[in-house]
Amino acid sequence: MHKTSFYEQTSKNKRYSQILIILVFCVLVVFSYVIGRVFSPGSTLLFLIFGTLFSVGYIWYTYYNSDKIALSSVSAYPAEGPQFQQLRNVVEEMAIAGGMPSPRVYVMPSPDLNAFAAGRDPEHSVVCVTEGLIKTLNRQELQAVIAHELTHIRNYDIRFVTLVAAMVGLVSIVSQMFLRSLWWGSLTGGRQSRSRGGGNLAFLVLGVLLAVLAPFIVKLVQLAISRRREYMADAGGVELTRYPQGLVSALRKIKSGYSGGPKTRGNAAVAPLFIEDPIKNRLMSLFNTHPPIDERIKILESM
């Protein structure tokens, strides 16, 4: 029965990814339209075309290379050699438990305790752990962390999260472009728009409002989704190991590892892909990419 709901979850993920793409396309279309109205009706079409081409290209590029991008952002190196034999074994074991191909294994040169998975689908996936993690966790705890990461891969979470991140970035870029062009436009011959009357003013206000709020709202939604995914990955990981205690004890060690603050600078862009937030002390809990560790431990212990 678990297995059935797990496959349902995966297809739900795929469906949500598609819906999300369509949704953001709509946002971009609306945005382009509003921009077009502000400057001139003729340029609406131009903005639409450019917007579509740009967004498709950008999203495709990020999605296709999500593994390379994530790895290079943390200076990861391949986990080769006898000192990483156990790590490689653990990854293979979990891949067998999940009935999936074994991802490539990498190591991050960081004393912090963390791990992430990346890649557009299970055949092109990578899993990366910190040197600190290998040193501190025992075999069962390591297995639990790897199981959590492999669940992200199985769930097509990586695809989903990467797409969401790319789109959020895109909305921000478009807003920035719009606001800047307004600024320059008002300096050099804004008379064109003014002559069209009050109708354009309404769109102008709307446009500015969208440009300021949209990135913010989209970011909050993205973070809420990211937190939900982490809970699901915890559950899925336990489904692989059938041993929740392993993850509980791993999370405890990770938590105490971060108690003094992260020792290496975390990259905000790839933060959602990690097992625990590499950037501590965010402004508000709304901005957390991961649910609080204590919450996660509580849920695991109830399994």
Partner: protein, 194 residues
Amino acid sequence: MFWILIVLVLMAFLVVMFLYNRLITLRARVENAWSQIDVQLKRRYNLIPNLVDTVKGYMEHERQTLESVTQARAALANAEGVKETAEANNMLTSALKSLFAVSENYPDLKANQNFLNLQEQLTTTENKIAYARQFYNDSVMTYNIACQKIPTNFVAALFNFKEKEYFEVVGESERSVPKVDFSGGNSQTAKDNA
């Protein structure tokens, strides 16, 4: 009127095709999962003579334990069918567990790098067998449920899809998959086992 009949027949055909394809996929998954178990069993089979040789010199007085490992290995090689293989596999796992438990009393052996490598290799192979078994059973469950559920059961009966056996021993006390760590405890970190 005639057209309605055609449409109905077409729809029925599509439904049957869909259900049939689903059964095929699930059955293939089960068979693939079984072959994965097989791969790991063979791997362990090949590792054991090496282990016995390494250990023999150090554990002179543990001939009984070594014997039971060798015998269990041979029994597993001769096992046929899912149930027999499951039984034989369990015997070999316990024999190996005893062997590694006893090795705790031989510090010289524990310092031997060859032995440590074998220990990790056998640990990972045991785990892989356990997880392959887990995945196999999960696949069997999904497949069997599909064979029983309406309306898939009609298609299953029509095309002779048989239910598969679980990889388990009757009356097994450990309901969960046995976790193996021959290195003697949870306290050792990955670095120690390098």
